[in-house]
């Protein structure tokens, strides 16, 4: 097993764990965190390919990850704001109850 494959497997596993968290837990914050984990798994892939795979431009992977981190930060900010709005609305964070479109 080459290092690249190891990294990719790690990333796949991390992604799955994130997915499981997002799917199984009902708390909206945790779902959001699961999604962040999935994003991290993707970032891991970028770095893995950048490090262990020839052919890419020297800094592309790094740049990609930096952008992804920044976007993740934005996403988290908006997501958590949504969480707070959700909480204000239904006084709990159970995502399965947040099914109504009307306010």
């Amino acid at each position: 097993m080459s290092p690249l494959q190891g990294c990719l497997l790690l990333s796949a596993a991390l992604f799955s764990v994130g997915l499981v968290i997002a799917l199984a837990r009902s708390n909206a914050i945790l779902v959001l965190l699961g999604i962040e984990l999935m994003l991290n798994a993707a970032n891991l892939n970028f770095i893995a390919f950048w490090r262990f795979h020839s052919g890419a431009a020297p800094a592309t992977g790094v740049i990609f990850v930096l952008f992804a981190i920044a976007v993740a930060a934005a996403e988290a900010a908006v997501g958590l704001a949504l969480v707070i709005a959700l909480y204000r609305h239904q006084k709990n964070l159970r995502l399965q109850e947040a099914t109504r479109l009307r306010g």
Partner: protein, 170 residues
């Protein structure tokens, strides 16, 4: 396949899995922070220092704080921090989906013939990253700035109370 990598993998996956199972929300959040730190360690191991520190700065320094804040703001008593255990049916489905996804990706990873890895890590200096960001990716960087501003404003708007507070008499 080094020892360091294995340790890191254990930290990352272990804390993530623990987070998936713990009932206490604060613990979950802190465990995920550990997982993120592990990812930062992975970046360091892979030679991407800058990304590693950025990861720490953003995830550990900022995101975790926001998450913890959100946790503290969205509870009425300490007891609420113990969140419900997952419903069995959904949990089973979740595990099935997770296993299927990792299985598929794993299969794809093994099914693909990879080129041999380069011996040395590509040389990337901070200056290089900076020049790249301001040069080839300048437009993306600008857009990102706009995105972050928009997200910030959006977050403020979303989180702000619906009704305006009464004007304070000062």
């Amino acid at each position: 396949m080094t020892f360091t990598f294995l340790i890191l993998a254990v930290i990352i996956l272990g804390s993530a899995l623990a987070a998936a199972l713990r009932p206490n929300l604060i613990h979950c959040a802190l465990l995920l922070v550990v997982s993120w730190l592990g990812v930062a360690g992975f970046y360091l191991w892979a030679g991407a220092e800058f990304v590693a520190f950025a990861q720490v700065l953003v995830y550990v320094g900022a995101l975790s704080m926001v998450v913890l804040f959100a946790v503290l703001l969205t509870r009425q008593s300490r007891a609420e921090l113990r969140v419900d255990a997952p419903e069995t049916r959904r949990a089973v489905w979740a595990v099935i989906a997770g296993v299927a996804v990792s299985g598929v990706i794993g299969a794809a990873v093994f099914a693909t013939k990879w080129d041999p890895a380069p011996v040395t890590a590509p040389e990337v200096t901070v200056r290089g990253i900076g020049l790249e960001l301001m040069g080839a990716h300048a437009a993306a960087l600008l857009l990102l700035g706009v995105l972050l501003t928009a997200a910030l404003l959006g977050a403020v708007v979303l989180a702000a109370p619906d009704r305006p507070e009464k004007e304070e008499k000062s």
